[in-house]
Subunit: 522 residues, 2 copies
Amino acid sequence: MTRVAIYDTTLRDGSQGEGVNFSLQDKLLLTRKLDELGVDYIEGGYPLSNPKDFEYFQAVRDLPLRHAKVVAFGMTRRKNAPAETDTCLKALLDAHTPVVTIVGKTWDFHVTNVLGTTLDENVRMIADSVAFCRSQGREVFYDAEHFFDGYQANPEYALRTLRAAADAGASVVIPCDTNGGTMPERVAEVIAAARAAVPCAVGIHCHNDCDLAVANTLAAVRAGATQVQGTMNGIGERCGNVDLVSVIANLAVKYGRDVLVPGSLARLTEASRYVYEIANMNFRSGQPFVGASAFAHKGGMHTHAVAKDPTTYEHITPELVGNERRILVSELSGQSTILSKTTKYQLGSDKALMGKILTAVQDLEHAGYEFEAAEASFDLLVKKAAGLYRPWFERLAYRVNIEARADGVPVTEATVKLRIGGETQFEVSEGDGPVNALDAALRKALVPAYPNLAGVQLVDYKVRVVNPKEGTAARVRVVIESRDGTDVWGTVGVSENVVEASWLALVDSIEYKLFKDAEQGK
Amino acid sequence: MTRVAIYDTTLRDGSQGEGVNFSLQDKLLLTRKLDELGVDYIEGGYPLSNPKDFEYFQAVRDLPLRHAKVVAFGMTRRKNAPAETDTCLKALLDAHTPVVTIVGKTWDFHVTNVLGTTLDENVRMIADSVAFCRSQGREVFYDAEHFFDGYQANPEYALRTLRAAADAGASVVIPCDTNGGTMPERVAEVIAAARAAVPCAVGIHCHNDCDLAVANTLAAVRAGATQVQGTMNGIGERCGNVDLVSVIANLAVKYGRDVLVPGSLARLTEASRYVYEIANMNFRSGQPFVGASAFAHKGGMHTHAVAKDPTTYEHITPELVGNERRILVSELSGQSTILSKTTKYQLGSDKALMGKILTAVQDLEHAGYEFEAAEASFDLLVKKAAGLYRPWFERLAYRVNIEARADGVPVTEATVKLRIGGETQFEVSEGDGPVNALDAALRKALVPAYPNLAGVQLVDYKVRVVNPKEGTAARVRVVIESRDGTDVWGTVGVSENVVEASWLALVDSIEYKLFKDAEQGK
């Protein structure tokens, strides 16, 4: 079967997503990572649209890429003016990429009502623009905006625009489901019609407005499309572009198609998380194939079955896409869960110790703990049971005071008194709220002894009532997510007092970091 | 075309999701909301698995539902033992629901290697269990676990298990893609085979491990399935169940199928957000149909085109599913939502007032407020805008002090100084934590003037960081659920300080109660 070319537009269409904003440096880092993953084309940006994209195309020429080709994106020439003097096309060529992608209009209504020109002039705009870029030695891909809506409204005209691009020398024409409203069976039908109409290759570009972008892309490939456009993690405007992560995994694993470069499928999870990091977005734990929960098992029975044979509740081996199995520690699970969680400590044969850990987990769960999102706290628990724990400091006291007047935000102050080694540290700090103030005072006391703690950031903070029936007198569970340069870890604390619960989770986070660095010799 | 029945399993399969944990009260609130949305079946839980599910089935009988039927879920009888004395089936029947769903095994490998019984005994387990529940007057749905994997391995045996359920009296048999690994065209093929094999109706139950759950579910419906099982927002283990939100919207809008009760499609967005709130999960802004970004347009050309004609970049009218267009640059949002929320005040004709409310909501949402689960706070906001609000007391000051020693729970003390009428009330109280102490002091100061407040209970308390990127310095949103003898109401407060946010939500709760009683002449 023909190879399916992966065309990544994270840097261009992905950056249209709400809250997404890549710096020049971000774009260069992502280009390198996408090339390592083995995508075929990297659409770097729209050189006319902003100076950052222009600079990117200058800088990217110095980047040694092993496989991917960088692509510049632009529109057809303006109406009633020659291609040779068009500023957009000039910017496109000035990007000096081996490939350019030109986007044009397909939908008759859009041509006349939004673009405000005639159907014939639009066809000339497409043909002239493609031909001009070809004449300047570029390979040209043609993105047919709104192709599916256009084909619905006026199929003859829609196909005519595609033919214009192909006849002018485009090597691939790409029908775009710009509004994301098309159903999979219709995508297959329209792609077949497009293939019959042009001599060149046909691609597909989908958006996820109906939660069907992956299905639509696969349907197009089954109908003969050989280039797939999308973004990593499906970022992009509205509901996003198609998620290339899912498309790549399905094409490779489920359809046995040739994608990426050999051996790179196992880098998919790492690449997905890297993109989230650079985009400063949180991972989506339930993301298919690469999410932290994608191969996580919670129910006791499921856990039991997976221990017998993973195919009972896993459709593929997680390692295929660089992910891993996780057994969640929760109230629904039993001994088999704990066993599989502690394999890395090689305690397997020590029955007494296993029993001790199990009892500790059950007692804590009974008190309201949940270790699902707090693997670092679970780690400390195992260390304690196995006698591998040592305290890094001792709490002598803390105090938090919150004072409010008639209105406005109250003033919060925290003091923390610790013993570290032989020394007593007594520090005070203000904060936006009690937890923030406590965190600040705690670090102020600890950083002189443990400077690595300066590099820890709190990334998320969640509170839940454990027994809601008692209202504010109930216990609360605080889950904190922390990170340093390389890792993210979760810790948990439970108390009737939200400040104390936060303290417990903060202390676990700090101790986990100190153990982690010590084990790595940092 | 046949109506497609919507079978919601948010309360059961959804609660298997990582970090999902519903209290009894949560489950009852969700049941009411799902019924309002017009789903046909609500799977409430697995009565044998835990006492909370058992209590739910007792409590739900007092809930007046207008359309939905509550369903209890359980397994087939144990191997080599009669159905009549099976504890799981007994628990299932003791739930006293009109419908029960029984899950059984389809996959030969799973039967022999995990269940550890013979293929024949497994078929008897299915038949006996269905027949026994039928004999006790229940309608029975049969969930065929791992049907697609089972059909792949041994199609004759897989179909035989389905026929056993149908022959024993199941009214619907539901092939489940338990591992979520099946492709859409294969789903269609297997559903057609299942339909040919049984005389009863056929459903579909999909998981999203390949990012194809929605496509698979739609493919099954096109192949003749008439019951769709899934969860709101696709919560559930690993990558989640199929998202019913997307399925419902696609079936209704794209395929013109009869789903939900007439007129309720426009409640889809509200229902989706309500489920997120109750589950204490963040909304997914890019979620198809209902996400805040689903109809959001960034500035520039798209905005301009959408202003000319929304169909240029929108596949459907957002109002169809209760969502709304957002133009991101100007952050104009909400008018339709506000309109629909204020109908009970009959302010419809007062344009200036509507504008005032809209501005207030936008300002508060911008600051991190969400009114989805806090209609009491929204009510107060409308009262304030309409000049119908009067303060019941004035805050002069409060102070909270938390002191901890080396270990143990800290001591917490709160003082509250209020002006009520002409009097100053200055009270102090201890509590388990800052919010509890504050609540106690607040009531101590207020109850002499407003004795009805003694009957208010706080039933739930949730905290979430509004901007998780800033860790503990970020804003927190506190949602409090309160009740008296007759009602339950939600209020919200947002602040950088969790104690202040809690104060704001507590005050709203108290004021709502006082207005409510005054309006009812209590």
